[in-house]
Symmetry: C2
Subunit: 254 residues, 2 copies
Amino acid sequence: MTSTRTTRRIIAVGSGKGGVGKSTLSANLAVSLARRGMRVGLIDADIYGPSQPRLLGAEGRKPTATDEKKLVPVQTEYGIGMLSMGQLVKPGQAIAWRGPMAGNALGQLIDADWGETETLIVDLPPGTGDVQLTMIQKYKPAGAVIVSTPQDLALIDARRAINLLTEADVPIIGLVENMAGYQCPECGAISDPFGTGGAEAAAQELGYDFLGRIPLELGIRTASDEGIPPAASGGPGADAFNAVAGKLTDWIAR
Amino acid sequence: MTSTRTTRRIIAVGSGKGGVGKSTLSANLAVSLARRGMRVGLIDADIYGPSQPRLLGAEGRKPTATDEKKLVPVQTEYGIGMLSMGQLVKPGQAIAWRGPMAGNALGQLIDADWGETETLIVDLPPGTGDVQLTMIQKYKPAGAVIVSTPQDLALIDARRAINLLTEADVPIIGLVENMAGYQCPECGAISDPFGTGGAEAAAQELGYDFLGRIPLELGIRTASDEGIPPAASGGPGADAFNAVAGKLTDWIAR
């Protein structure tokens, strides 16, 4: 147990606020790293809003368990294993768990039968609650990627998430700005419903690397809803996701 | 204590997923109801990402306490009292609380010195965790408004939130679709980065009222970041917010 934990590196993907694209980024980073030849697993730790089964086209597939009662990750068609709370409950059913149960669930997902997996991407829930606290106390990540939209309100929450991680000595790998730049399908003009540049400015101010900008693109949303991560198919936004994954690969190799 | 609880009505505003505009809707509903002459208070129960101090232009203002150690809501310039976890911690500092503390905090906010307030709008955090469970067990709302974007992923989570509330016999007042219809500032064409119609279809399928659609509008975001709720100023999106508030008023009066 101890040896697998020390050899396997956990990269947390976090945000203060929900709905900023954390799960979509996590899925595409995992796929992009796998395409670079890394052995990658993805954990959907967003206990109350698990999105990875949908994002990776694995809805309805249930993980099995080993004789030692460890969960066996579902193998997706994108070369990565995945475990999500969404696989353990029925669609439409609320995961009405108080904090300690959520913390325990995280443990089950991380202490699963991850085999040869070297890098575990953990898609955190929004906020700074039980899952985050259990993670930093029991499964300390090698580093964390922080996602935000450029909007002030999202950046306020991102700072809180960064604060929690840095107080626990988790290195901040850098910030990603999501939903910047929307191209009008009619005239092609680019505008910014959520503003632009806020996350890059925050990264600079706080002294962290800026890892890149993901556009707000219709195609990313439709591909995601269909379970096809753009990074797997060279689809819309693939370049942006791959650029962030490249910086993450550099960080891991450094 | 018991008498104030029974005479004061709690309206919960919830979503499964974060970042769907729940806080912006809550603020504007509260302001719109107050402008109709109702005595309204607003509780920001989004413990890990409190947004109401910013949305209502009350950042940095701290609630006082009565001799009985009850919190006294901050009076905003929009005719509503407000209490938020954001008022009790420093900006940028994480609220690193496990679930039981979050549940207790909700109690402090609800059992505050709300005076003549008849209707308390409670802006819930995303998910179905401790705050939601404490609310339905100890401070059962008269009804709940559910917000979602039209995107499949957001609707999946909305169903989970509805499931939790209906299992606890909390009436669902209806669904609101947010971020539908974005107008290109260049050519005026309207497109749908997050899709459209999904929440209305879900309301119909589940047999709930559809309360209205809030557009994705640059002006709503900038006014919100500046602490000026559009419903207070007749600003962008005001008509859409007021239409939802009208349906909520009808529901309350019925």
